[in-house]
Assembly symmetry: C2
Homo-oligomer: 219 residues x 2
């Protein structure tokens, strides 16, 4: 039986994306509380860390299948387990990264992904100066030599950190590799077949929100 909330007719209810996006933040804090030896946490207190409505936290946690006790709250350790399981942070998805430049290198060496269900196992580039090196133990290969990687690898995620101009062609290549999800950091929208998952992480979207607030601050 799934942990997610069930609809009356037994079909799993889709978890709202805003809920999914908040969950890792809960988890990060909860892991810290766990390390500090805190046993229980209530939704109102958890909410206060993030300036959220307490009922929202309760509902988010309910989507993951967590239950709390009145007057006590949730068991921190249990909650960490439930969220890790629900988010898939304790499984291990392997990833290829294409574009071992500044951002690519930062992602490759980033240890945080290890506790978040993703492991970058290889990088690819076209720059002779980068090929053959390794970054924190992750080898950088010549992309040209891997153009026709047989599909059906056990790699589920492809990360794009090339310039925009190359992003679509890299995406096409990854689709050919049989990759299931593409995490794109180039500031363009890539096109893929419907069965491939795409997550664009557009840095300018965040900057735009900041500038909008800054420029309207005097209102």
């Amino acid at each position: 039986m799934e942990k997610s909330l069930m609809h009356k007719d037994k079909k799993p209810v889709a978890v709202p994306e805003p809920t999914i996006r908040r969950m890792p933040a809960y988890l990060t804090l909860l892991r810290q509380l766990k390390d500090e030896g805190q046993e229980f946490i209530s939704a109102p207190r958890l909410a206060s860390f993030f300036n959220l409505d307490p009922t929202q936290v309760v509902k988010d946690l309910a989507y993951a299948g967590a239950a709390g006790r009145p007057k006590v709250g949730y068991v921190v350790e249990k909650l960490v387990e439930i969220l890790e399981e629900f988010l898939g942070f304790n499984r291990k998805h392997e990833a290829f990264l294409v574009g071992a430049g500044f951002l690519g290198s930062a992602l490759i060496q980033y240890q945080g992904f290890r506790e978040a269900g993703m492991k970058i196992v290889a990088a690819f580039d076209t720059d002779k100066k980068k090929i053959g090196k390794d970054i924190s133990g992750v080898p950088v290969f010549d992309l040209a030599k891997f153009r026709d990687l047989a599909g059906r690898l056990h790699i589920s995620i492809g990360i794009i950190t090339t310039p925009s101009s190359a992003a679509q062609q890299i995406a096409d290549l990854m689709v050919g590799w049989g990759i299931k999800a593409i995490w794109n950091f180039a500031p363009i929208s890539i096109k893929v077949p419907p069965h491939v998952i795409v997550q664009d992480t557009h840095i300018y979207a965040n900057l735009a929100v900041i500038l909008n607030k800054l420029n309207n601050a005097g209102r």
Copy 2:
């Protein structure tokens, strides 16, 4: 007169955050179309690039103050100007960055911010090996020597790319410096006074969305 939509009672209507977040993507594409010499673009065509509903694009552009002509669409060059002006990408906000590690270095050398209204003018770190160096022309200073920077600098944005453990204390410092907005990349929620703008860019939120789709793909 503001470019933004007006309510009947003349108060400016708040632009929805989802709209703000989509706008930079429109702008990036429009700049490219402009470079390619394309004169007009219709909302339906623009929408098809992003798999959006055409009326959504029309409404988003209307928020920026753009008007199109039936049967023709929008004038690309005009639209670029309007969006740049609306987003504040043609003003110049100066920024300080604290934590000149992998991610910080990537952000510092990233040329894209130049066309997006933000210029990183200095970086700070506590690591002796980084202090005194410069990254793409941006000097890295010893944070300890700049603890009590006089407020009222012309710096409006503070970027945090330190480990989580240091993020809150850096935020407090930045607030003391008189910084107006904080762009935080550490995966924790920082607390600031209400007059300070905070934008958390939590990498795990994006990863969680990917993993959720991946793990539920078989449904």
